[in-house]
């Protein structure tokens, strides 16, 4: 660690981040791309914590045989912190059908086509016969539509109860599973996404302004922002590789990554531009010692968060930790192999040695 590679020809170092950036862009934009989570697209997620391990493949087979889920994903984890299963699907064929029939019924009711409204309501209820039984459908059209709307809600409840029962029976559970249910409508998901874009845009603008205010020199400021962008790219590339979706938790984590990773860049830039002791190469090497300590404490903390939250299915913490962990790995490269060489170059050009 004591060989100061900045004293040798440091310019070729820049090739490493450039190559990684190209790979990163390919992973994010071309293949396999970052998936959109159900937070943003709409869907249902159930998390079960159980007293016995659950075989995900077996459960998935069982579920596919019984129900017609769209985009079903089942993941199981067993470890010292207990057993957990995450079940995600974008929709269920019967529910979709019932919902669209229900909205047709509502439309017919508005147009005062009572007979059609009642018929569509009945069809909607019948589409759900796997989940809910309605003995008597009211003769009044608007009451029939209300009954159909209730049936949709009741069907969701029964699906949850059926899944609970299926888990208990198939895997011989002794205790009632502890559960979390998250259901997001498609419109809400779209709202979240628009919201996220606004937030990201504002953040980026504010950060750029702040960096320029503090350093007031174009190239060093640009280098800092470029380094942050590189970190986000690396985090996104790992998300694409590990199919970690873009979600309500991972988007704020990406913003936080920017704020977090800039710490080391700021420290480096301050020491390079505002200090006069030693050569620039020495200064950047000293800065690297400090910076690596900073990043490694953070990496250690996020690794601990990542591991525990994965085992215990604390999804919010997991998605935040994974983005920060991989993003900070990227930060080691962007700060010391990209920002540092650029600054050395800049300082030498300015001849302020």
């Amino acid at each position: 660690m004591n060989i100061n590679f900045y004293q040798a020809n440091y310019k070729p170092l820049l090739l490493i981040p450039i190559a990684l950036a190209i790979i990163g862009i390919f992973l994010v934009a071309v293949f396999p791309q970052v998936p959109f989570g159900m937070d943003l697209t709409g869907g249902t997620r159930l998390i079960f914590r159980t007293d016995k391990p659950i075989d995900a493949t077996l459960l998935e087979k069982e579920l596919r045989a019984k129900y017609s889920f769209d985009e079903l994903r089942v993941i199981s984890i067993s470890g010292p912190a207990g057993n957990g299963t995450t079940l995600e699907f974008s929709s269920l064929k019967e529910f979709n059908q019932a919902n669209s029939l229900l909205s047709e019924a509502r439309k017919a009711l508005k147009e005062n086509n009572l007979e059609l409204a009642r018929q569509k309501a009945i069809d909607s209820i019948n589409a759900l016969n796997l989940f809910v039984k309605v003995d008597e459908i009211p003769a009044d059209a608007s009451e029939a539509v209300d009954a159909a709307s209730d049936a949709v809600i009741k069907a969701k409840e029964n699906l949850q109860l059926q899944l609970n029962a299926l888990l208990k029976e198939k895997f011989a559970l002794e205790e009632e599973p502890r559960s979390q249910l998250r259901e997001i409508g498609a419109i809400l998901g779209a709202t979240f996404w628009n919201n996220a874009l606004m937030v990201a845009l504002t953040s980026i603008t504010l950060i750029t302004i702040i960096v320029f205010i503090f350093f007031r020199e174009i190239i060093p400021s640009l280098a800092i922002i470029l380094a942050a962008a590189f970190d986000v790219l690396i985090a996104l590339a790992f998300m694409a590789l590990l199919s970690i979706p873009l979600s309500l938790s991972s988007i704020p984590a990406l913003l936080m990554l920017v704020g977090y990773s800039i710490d080391t860049d700021i420290m480096l830039t301050t020491r390079m531009l505002k200090r006069r002791e030693g050569t620039p190469a020495e200064r950047s090497f000293e800065a690297m010692k400090t910076g690596i300590t900073m990043t490694s404490t953070a990496l250690a903390a996020f690794a601990a968060m990542l591991l525990l939250s994965y085992l215990t299915q604390m999804l919010v913490i997991y998605q935040i930790a994974i983005v920060l962990f991989f993003g900070l790995l990227g930060d080691l490269i962007s700060t010391w192999l990209m920002n540092a060489p650029v600054l050395l170059w800049y300082v030498e050009k300015k001849k302020v040695i």
Binding site: D39, I153, L255, Y260, D263, A300
Partner: protein, 534 residues
């Protein structure tokens, strides 16, 4: 060490630390549904509310409707002009489904007199919310009343005239002040149970034999249970411990055209079984603290007295009687706030609890209390583990316990200060907030590393600048880093990211950063200077 204790920065940190601990101990920490369990509904409205008042109407109508179910501890808030958020402690799928349908559907309003329907919600043409036409509060603070005018359809106002005609009795006559009448009561129901039968224990019936006409307020006027039940026109069975043979026969007959039995949840299994055997569907209502069970069970919302003028006391015969297309309900109140509440409640009742804007869709999140407990436990462990691994890494790097201990002490102090702040502003903690705290502490540790390295830099070689100057340089880095982090996360708060779900993450992180920059970092700087000097 002695002169360190004299530094105001260090004193400030310790006193705030003590204050935070006291706050957490006495004021406590509020936990969100992630840790307590519960359900959050995100209600998306069909269109954006055009005024602030309209959005307030949406949330208060939802609160009122939830209130009608006897549900406690509900929190209804609005988000922007298109979303309403409802937080409840309930997680049982059955109850949650019931609530969801309640949110989506409006109730059925009926005004009854003598077991006859006077008018229904559908027959109310409009509620005249125009203050010029009388809607609102009247009088002075001491003697305040409220007025609610509304218009009925022709058919309904005709029926109203017939049903209310001469429904007052003369109490006394005074040539100076005129006649003094006592008038009949009318009963306002939402979702009055039809084709249902009430099956209640005798002790409860005894308890509610006489009820105040307004259960939520002091009043000398009372009504009897019989009168209420007659007006609701619901058949009822009162049992003593168990159903008698006669009652079973009566129920059997009722089951011909009544399909639901309304009972208390604590009704014995044997009674439940016999009701089920007669093909009754069971509907359970808990007894609320602030309302007689009979009110909840029959859906009675309000009792309104007729006045002699609407009862046409001056007209001699029905044919001479006047019909009123527009009616006015008025009432007294204790003060302006009370009057406003009563007016608003009654308005919502007459509107059958219908929302001014229809509900487009409902999304939700439910966490069972057992899972919440588990999350709380593991989130705490995660925080602790993060602290331990950071301490380890620092020890490996510096191999100097005297430096690692103050860093870790500061980190823990920051956690306590942020939690103290959360307790002060009553911010509810969730998983995202825990992630935010850990991240904020992480930046804190980063800054302390910068301070140490900056201070101890080239200790062996020539020193440029005093310790104080270098401390200042370290602070430039600390402030710049903190500003960028705040800039990155503040927009999450502005835009209420994820309908406020991830705002906790941003708030705790930013709070942590501020606590760090303003309180703990200056104190740490002093402490570190002393350690480095040695």
């Amino acid at each position: 060490m002695k002169d360190l204790m004299k530094s105001w920065k260090v004193i400030l940190m310790f006193s705030l630390l003590a204050l935070s601990i006291a706050l957490i101990a006495f004021n406590g920490l509020r936990l969100g549904i992630d840790f307590n369990g519960g359900t959050l509904f995100e209600v998306h409205l069909e269109r954006a509310a055009s005024t602030e008042q309209e959005m307030v109407d949406v949330t208060s109508t939802i609160s009122q409707r939830l209130d009608w179910t006897g549900l406690k501890d509900t929190k209804v808030s609005s988000f922007g002009n298109e979303f309403a958020l409802i937080e409840i402690a309930e997680t049982n799928p059955e109850q949650v489904a019931l609530l969801e349908s309640l949110i989506k559907k409006q109730g059925k309003f009926e005004a009854m007199i003598d077991s006859n329907v006077m008018f229904t919600g559908a027959e109310i043409i409009s509620i005249i919310k125009d203050p010029a036409k009388g809607y609102g509060l009247r009088g002075t603070e001491k003697n305040i009343s409220w007025v609610l005018p509304f218009a009925l359809s022709n058919e309904a106002s005709q029926r109203f005239k017939e049903l209310t005609f001469h429904k007052c009795t003369l109490l006394s006559y005074n040539p100076e002040t005129g006649s003094d009448y006592e008038c009949e009561k009318t009963f306002f129901f939402i979702d009055r149970p039809l084709t249902s039968v009430l099956v209640m224990p005798d002790y409860l019936f005894e308890e509610e034999k006489q009820m105040p006409v307004d259960p939520r307020r002091q009043s000398s006027n009372t009504i009897s249970a019989e009168e209420l039940l007659k007006n609701a026109s619901v058949p009822f069975i009162i049992f003593d411990k168990n159903l008698s043979g006669e009652q079973l026969i009566e129920l059997k007959e009722l089951s011909e055209n009544h399909f639901t039995a309304i009972i208390l949840p604590e009704t014995t299994e044997s009674i439940k079984e016999s009701l089920k055997a007669m093909n009754f569907k069971l509907k359970e209502f808990k007894k609320a603290d602030d309302e007689p069970w009979l009110w909840t069970a029959t859906g009675l919302k309000s009792i309104i007295f007729l006045t002699e003028s609407v009862a046409n006391m001056k007209a001699k015969t029905l044919s001479e009687a006047e019909s009123f297309p527009e009616l006015i309900i008025t009432g007294g109140a204790n003060d302006a706030k009370d009057a406003k509440e009563r007016l608003q409640q009654l308005t919502i009742i007459l509107e059958s609890g219908s929302l001014p804007i229809a509900v487009e869709s409902v999304s939700r999140e439910s966490i069972s209390p057992a899972l919440g407990k588990e999350f709380f436990f593991y989130a705490s462990i995660t925080g602790l583990l993060a602290l331990i691994v950071v301490a380890l890494v620092l020890f490996i790097r510096y191999r100097f316990l005297k430096l690692v201990i103050p860093i870790m002490f500061t980190a823990i102090a920051e956690v306590i200060l942020v939690l103290g702040l959360a307790s002060l502003i009553n911010w509810s903690l969730d998983l995202a907030a825990v992630a935010g705290i850990i991240a904020a502490v992480g930046t804190g540790v980063n800054d302390q590393i910068v301070i140490i390295d900056e201070l101890s830099h080239k200790r062996k070689e020539e020193v440029t600048g005093s310790l104080v100057q270098r401390g200042k340089r370290a602070f430039f880095i600390v402030i710049a880093a903190a500003s960028t982090l705040v800039a990155a996360l503040a927009p999450l708060i502005f835009f209420g990211f994820g309908l406020g779900k991830l705002v906790g993450f941003a708030i705790t992180t930013i709070a942590g950063v501020f606590v760090g920059v303003l309180i703990t970092r200056p104190a740490f700087n002093e402490i570190a200077q002393k350690i480095i000097e040695k």
